[in-house]
Subunit: 1001 residues, 2 copies
């Protein structure tokens, strides 16, 4: 026995999130843990081994005691319903439902609908049994595949009560969720319009046909019915709920009546004669007897039919030419299932608007030249029909498959009931539809099938003619079920809208989240009624049906997509209890949905997709940070992993080289970056579309400083990644960053570190040692190195140079970084107006004119615009002069290097600081000589550079390599100081041992 | 004056890579550097500061001296040509060409072709001036946009001599390159067939029409001509080359003749009368005088026309009905540009095959019922024409735009000449085409235009009727140019095939890489001729043209794609000298190509794409490692970066949690991984679709060990990433890996480290300290920790357990790792047949029956299949018993801990090893008590676990947290030993402080 409360509510009732909905974003255990912490003091003592965990993690035994809640999850906001129902004391949440009552029957009720009663016979007549079967099969396959996907999603853990909106938004993210939710809402709303139109069609055509004379009746009556229904919903849904069972009973009884009727036709077909003139079906109202003349009292009398085709009653009246030339035949409208009429109905018979319904196989004598007359006597096609139109009209009769999953909260065991109930319901309805297609074709005469409004069979509903015991069973059954479906749509749609509005993902919908004091969504109902009115103004069931087909198809497509995606991504938490899903099935379902959309109507499909895209973009724009754990994030992760794996195959080609910079910054005591301009410079190099990793090594132990690290990373708002290493040893930390920063293909290829400007002061001694170590390490790791000097004088990203030069001093070619960097800098606003100059040094035996020419050609091939200058420089070793020079430099710097007692230019044959003895023998002889020559070169170069580039905005310079032995470190620093002395902004550049620029395409 | 050597060769001549082609993959500087190293000893001494760099990087001055080579790059394998040309002593590579001779004129010659002469007038007649203009405009826009993209690619550095094949393969990778190369090859080959067919059409129809009587003449003559041409090419291309200029001159003279003729029509139109019966155009051969009767010597005589329509010559003969009813009119075929005929020709007049060519505006008296007779007297449409057919037929006349870029090696300044020359040529040809469309429409009568073979104008070539001084200029001009184009195609196509074959990307083509001793590609020529024969067997210019359109369009599409992609990726090395490109233009060009393909013929388009896809997949399958620096790699990099950036937005939701494991392995002296089973276990967990980073910290200094690191990373062939840190301090190295491993969203969330099984031995003391540090660090960094014990007994990936259990001892719930891991393991073949059991411990006051029930529900919601057992355990603290127990344990272990004089269970109030004094006061009292209780718990638990899980294949267990003070470390290790004693494989698991498993969907 069905309980009246079972179908108390429509599908979308449970979508409404309220206080009762589980907070998915906070893991279930946290709330449990807080209870546990307080109550389980005993546990923590008796399980002493795990006492450390007791602070944060609950003991299993205590956790389990709180698990009872899970089996009986709250099922959405039912405050309103409960408020209205509490006088009866029968709260549905207290009565968990089984598969039959909770899923199967609601699905059956939602799937069977107005189309079955009003258009199914017509579809079989127009499309033929064969064509209609294909349509039904396609549509049913689509819903079956969607149901499989939906079952997988719905059984992947406790189902958040609610329909496809919740499923999609929680698995594909708010953007898709919102778009699909709105589609589903619009679909439901238009379904309401369709039901109202169907309801009026039944009323006006079959129940009280005399009312049809009114002008524009569909629209007028439709608006009246809509207003009435909206009022009913507004006043109280409980009246609707009371009738839910009645509606279901109507549907089931009607279908049973049809089957009974079909069986009866085998024994004794019902009498529904059709009168045919020539091969044209005549309207029932144009004749009383199906003959031109009758013998009445041995007298030949003309009939009503005669009178309607001729100008007088007399036998020699002037008649319609076609009437004269053709005979009148009366045929049986329902020849019955044994008559073999099926063969005639097998193939389609598409009609254009205004065409006659012609009986196949009857002779028709027609003069092609004479105009067609008296068309108002015949049954005519009311619309032009074609295969794809039928698909659009039929599809709404397979929707409604989510009725079960929407009420998951009411179910005793949702994870079992939803798949079984839904799939069983689809199997049942599909069987009914398919058998109906065949049986209709086997029982009913083609002209009757194609007669949409039964005008040739005395204005009977065509499916009604089949019914046993009376056509009225179907007429009233379909009328009530259609009314009920309309009411349910008007109840459900506003609630869905309210749920979406309350989720807050679409700001402009916010107003629809509010409701009456009791939670009834007044504004949402108003909007729904307005949209519904649009459907009613269209005033044609055949035009509204394809519209809602679009929206439902789109929604189903996304359910399939969500399932396919999650299956393919295979996150560990994708473990549906329902096992019979497969990504290929979901993919097939998705393709079917998409195909059906375009088959129905490619322009509707585009419009529907356009609407969905707009909503998607709108939500993306006003992105509310929803922690729903969407699958899109999973895609990003998979994509990143896949892309990086692909990159592992080999090193990048020079053509694809991009600067991937590891910026080594240091932080002060307050953990601010000490050289913020380093980051500015990096972002000015971003034209290379490379990667930036900001690396910091912080002194300290990791264990104590972890929270500080987190803070540090937040303050560095650079577009890139940051890696912070806390180390007991700064040098090691930096070294490890250089070694292991980045990942796979996203590893840095360039290190940027600022010049240790205070290196001569003993308190910064460690800093300069670290600096040289970094230089050494980058060299060994084949990384390029950029060392900006005077980093604090570098421009911020806001500054703009309006003129000036970027000067490149190209002394050795080590991969082309020197050429590439100015090119990249000049892409940035700061440096855009600077011109690039390239200087190179010609030595004594060089032909500087040829050099310049060659360089210009080279730059031309490099496609770099730069002025070129070849500077001649004589490097005669005048020892005496040199000695004085060096002495003066070392003297001047000696003052600050107090801890040493050696001269700044150390002879490298001193044994200290582990120069490996292996490479000594060769070096011994000229070491002093070499250092002297180096210093000389540095000075001479500096002389030339300052002369030429004093005013340059930036000078780029080859950075010499560090000495092999650590004893030379200070000399090395000194050389660099000398080399860059008197210049404002210098960027020392060392290549990474590979070409970064190529003249080849 | 044009030099005969200028057009010595076809487009693809330069594609052939030989010894002379620049090795793109080895940067240009390396070769220079080797020279430099030897010769520039002086430099290295005089620029002493940079002497370190001298080993690897050249001094700029010496580099520049080698730059002369760049301006005169080798241009492909010309051995053959040079071998043949050397008697003349005029090697083309010695004469760098300018824009006009090197690009503009070759392009002009290649673009103008047979379609202009044979089909242009017909297209204007059928499609109308308006429709034809649209076609021409679309096609010309496509090539113009393609030329812009091509210019960008070609000016991005020194162009590798060769056509689109080189461009695409070097910018999109071998797969696309091969696919496009084969398309281009097929296009060129079919172009050859088209030229031969055109050539025969001119010969048979216009030059020696008497030959047309032969059966199947197109095919027979075509095969003969093809054989002859192939022979010419085989014997020596120099004969072809000799005539190149003649061919160009023919084209230019013909076009000039047409323009001259058009001007002349304004003054004095040429006389080409067309005879029309009713409105039907009559064949020239069916009449001599365009009249039914003529007055001859005052006598009315019937004409030849009369005789062909009537059964006798007499005036009262029985004649064709249409002939009787209609008059004969003679109209002017070329009314001239001033006649205003343009208005008549504006719109299309598409004909079905066999329809009459009807003159608009003339009366035609036709009886619809009587059959059409005497059709062989009229000019009839030979094929059914429609707009898209015209597109397919016209498109080949805009191809050939790559003639310039193909000969880049011969150019003085390719980067300037290619864009200017190509774009100028396209502008010129487009102007000619567009003006021709208008002028043809303005000069020529519609029926003549639609008369494809000039049958109504005495068998003249229609465009020839316009020409001044004589139609024969065009007939012979087009004949020779078409012959020449055919020869060039047959020369070029095999060379392109040879080039592709020699690149070695398509193994089955290898044989076509070989050639005669002099390099002539014999086999390739044979294949080309065979494919060409297919085109000839088709035997219709109108059918072959769309085929080659497809292939060229596909090729152009990819050129546009390559440019768009590189522009969007913006690698620093994408710096085309040609600045007027934009990704949107390339994208538009790409879309146009694609649209045109589908407009021409959607099935050809699908077939062509199918062929390209097959080649793509084939090359991908036999992937030869080509270091061409393809853009696809750039996409991967950008995608990885983009995806990771997206992930930066926030932490993943529990739903999306995946294990991202950092496996800390240690390596032995030979740098083999010490615990290979750790990696096996990781890969058995891969069902989580997570990330694996294998991290190793190696003792040593980075500077000395860099090469070893590289070796190490290669030996670890795990699907994931490896990060190796060389550190002076193992503990720091590991700590830094834990801190900074991974990047952004691809950071590890779980650390796996093996149990230090020898920890009690003093030589491994450091190892166990490190282990505990790792445990502490993972805790602080909120990372999960997995510690497999007895890792060497774990199964390899090859083993299969056929039965047994994975046992989970769920004592505290810290995020669900314990539940998730067996689930993931069971996805792997090794563990698939193992069953999962979950044990939990009930304490004295727990209701163990309720616990089991709750746990079952919980697991049901988690969708994890496991048997559940609740173990009751009494933890009565029997101090005496306990003490004995502990003592025995500590005693047994004391033997090996020699360096200590404390008992193993240290009282924690001993001051050593830096326990922070802050948390002392509370701890002091119960420390000993707690440790005693801990040990007791461990023992009791172990007792229970061994009892239940002795035979389990794997036991998962909560891992207790480490003691806060370091003094407890050894006790902690001892507890764990006790806890896991007697078990074979144990996996200790610590959660990362967040949920990893959820009951929600």
């Amino acid at each position: 026995m069905l309980h009246p409360g079972v179908f108390t509510f429509v599908d979308w009732r449970l979508c409404v999130p309220g206080d009762g909905i589980p907070k998915e974003s906070c893991p279930f255990i946290n709330s449990a843990a807080t209870d546990v912490e307080k109550s389980q003091q005993y546990d923590s003592k008796s399980m002493a081994l795990f006492e450390e965990e007791m602070d944060t993690s609950p003991m299993v035994s205590s956790l389990l005691s709180t698990l009872a809640n899970y089996s009986n999850l709250p099922t959405g906001s039912k405050e309103h319903e409960e408020a209205e129902n509490n006088e009866e004391g029968a709260r549905p949440s207290k009565k968990p439902l089984g598969t039959l009552m909770g899923v199967y029957l609601p699905c059956i009720q939602n799937i069977f609908g107005v189309i079955l009663f009003l258009r199914m016979t017509w579809m079989v007549g127009i499309g033929g049994v064969f064509g209609s079967f294909i349509i039904v099969f396609m549509c049913c396959s689509t819903t079956m595949l969607t149901a499989i996907s939906m079952s997988a999603i719905a059984t992947n853990g406790v189902v958040p009560a609610g329909g496809s909106y919740y499923m999609i938004s929680r698995s594909l993210g708010p953007e898709f969720g919102g778009a699909v939710g709105i589609c589903f809402y619009l679909g439901t709303t238009f379904a309401g319009a369709m039901y109202i139109l169907g309801c009026i069609e039944i009323l006006l055509i079959y129940i009280i046909p005399q009312a049809i004379a009114l002008l524009n009746n569909m629209r007028v009556y439709g608006t009246i019915v809509l207003s009435f229904m909206a009022l009913v919903v507004f006043v109280g849904v409980k009246y609707v709920n009371k009738l839910a069972l009645v509606f279901l009973a109507c549907v089931i009884l009607s279908i049973l009546a049809v089957y009974a009727g079909i069986i009866k036709t085998a024994i004794e077909p019902p009498v529904f004669p059709v009168c045919i003139l020539g091969n044209r079906t005549l309207l029932s109202k144009s004749y009383d007897v199906c003959a031109k003349i009758v013998e009445l009292d041995n007298e030949t009398v003309t009939t009503k039919l005669w009178r309607s085709f001729c100008d007088s009653e007399s036998l020699n009246a002037t008649c319609d030419e076609y009437f004269n030339n053709n005979d009148v035949t009366e045929i049986q409208g329902i020849p019955g299932v044994t008559s073999g009429i099926l063969a005639e109905n097998l193939f389609g018979n598409y009609l254009e608007k205004g065409m006659f319904l012609e009986k196949r196989g009857l002779a028709s004598n027609v003069d092609p030249d004479s105009p067609v007359s008296n068309t108002n006597r015949y049954v005519l096609a009311d619309i032009t029909s074609f295969f794809t139109l039928l698909v659009g009209i039929y599809f709404p009769s397979v929707t409604g498959i989510m009725a079960g999953s929407n009420r998951s909260g009411d179910l005793r065991d949702a994870q079992k009931s939803i798949p079984i109930g839904t799939i069983a319901a689809i199997t049942t309805t599909s069987t009914v539809y398919m058998s109906c297609v065949v049986l209709f074709g086997a029982c009913i005469e083609g002209v009757v099938l194609r007669d949409k409004f039964g005008e040739g069979v005395n204005g009977n509903l065509v499916i009604g003619t089949l019914a046993w015991p009376s056509p009225w069973v179907i007429v009233f059954g379909s009328f009530f079920s259609t009314c009920g479906a309309g009411l349910q749509s008007l109840t459900g749609a506003p609630r869905l809208l309210q749920a979406i509005a309350r989720d807050g993902i679409i700001p402009f919908l916010r107003v629809f989240g509010h409701g009456k004091a009791n939670g009834e969504p007044t504004w949402a109902l108003l909007l729904t009624a307005s949209i519904c009115e649009i459907g009613i103004i269209i005033a044609s069931l055949d035009s509204v049906a394809p519209i809602l087909s679009m929206f439902f198809l789109m929604c189903y497509m996304f359910v399939n997509l969500a399932c396919a995606l999650q299956t393919l991504l295979r996150t560990p938490n994708w473990r549906p209890r329902f096992k019979f899903y497969h990504w290929a099935l979901s993919f097939l379902g998705m393709s079917l949905c998409l195909s059906l959309m375009f088959i129905c109507s490619w322009y509707y499909a585009i419009v529907a997709m356009g609407i969905a895209t707009c909503i998607y973009k709108y939500i993306e724009f006003y992105r509310a940070e929803k922690e729903w754990g969407d699958g899109i994030r999973g895609i990003s992760l998979s994509a990143a992993r896949f892309a990086l794996m692909r990159l592992e195959e080999g090193p990048p080609h020079t053509k694809n080289w991009r600067p991937q910079i590891l910026v080594l910054v240091s932080v002060d005591a307050e953990q601010n970056v000490e050289q913020p301009r380093l980051l500015s410079l990096t972002s000015q190099l971003k034209a290379g579309r490379g990667l930036t990793i900001v690396g910091t090594s912080v002194q300290g132990t990791f264990l104590n400083n972890y929270t500080e690290t987190q803070k540090l990373m937040e303050t560095e708002k650079v577009k890139g990644f940051s890696q912070v290493v806390i180390s007991s040893n700064l040098r090691d930390g930096t070294s490890h960053l250089v070694q292991s920063g980045g990942l796979g293909g996203l590893k840095h290829n360039t290190v940027m570190v600022s010049w240790p400007h205070n290196w001569k002061q003993p308190e910064f001694h460690q800093q300069f040692r670290n600096f040289i170590e970094v230089v050494r390490e980058t060299t060994i790791a084949s990384l390029a190195l950029l060392v900006p000097k005077n980093i604090s004088s570098y421009p911020s990203n806001g500054e703009r140079f309006t003129e000036g030069y970027i000067d490149v001093w190209w002394i050795v070619h080590d991969g082309g970084m020197l050429m590439l960097l100015p090119f990249l800098l000049r892409q940035h606003k700061v440096w855009r107006k600077c011109k690039m100059r390239i200087f190179t040094v010609a030595q004594m035996d060089d032909n500087s004119i040829q050099m310049k020419k060659d360089l210009l050609i080279f730059l031309y091939h490099l496609r770099i615009d730069a002025a070129v200058e070849v500077v001649e420089m004589k490097l005669e070793i005048d020892s005496c002069f040199l000695f004085l020079q060096i002495q003066s430099i070392t003297d001047s710097s000696r003052g600050s290097i107090r801890r040493k007692n050696k001269p700044t230019l150390q002879p490298q044959h001193s044994k200290e600081e582990g120069g490996s003895p292996a490479d000594k023998p060769d070096d011994k002889v000229n070491l002093n000589q070499i250092d002297v020559r180096r210093m000389h070169t540095a000075m001479r170069l500096n002389e030339v550079i300052t002369k030429k580039s004093k005013e340059a905005k930036l000078v780029l310079l080859n950075m010499p390599g560090p000495p092999k032995n650590r004893v030379g470190d200070e000399n090395y620093m000194e050389f660099l100081e000398v080399l860059t002395e008197g210049l404002n902004r210098v960027l020392l550049v060392r290549g990474g041992g590979r070409e970064v620029i190529t003249i080849y395409s």
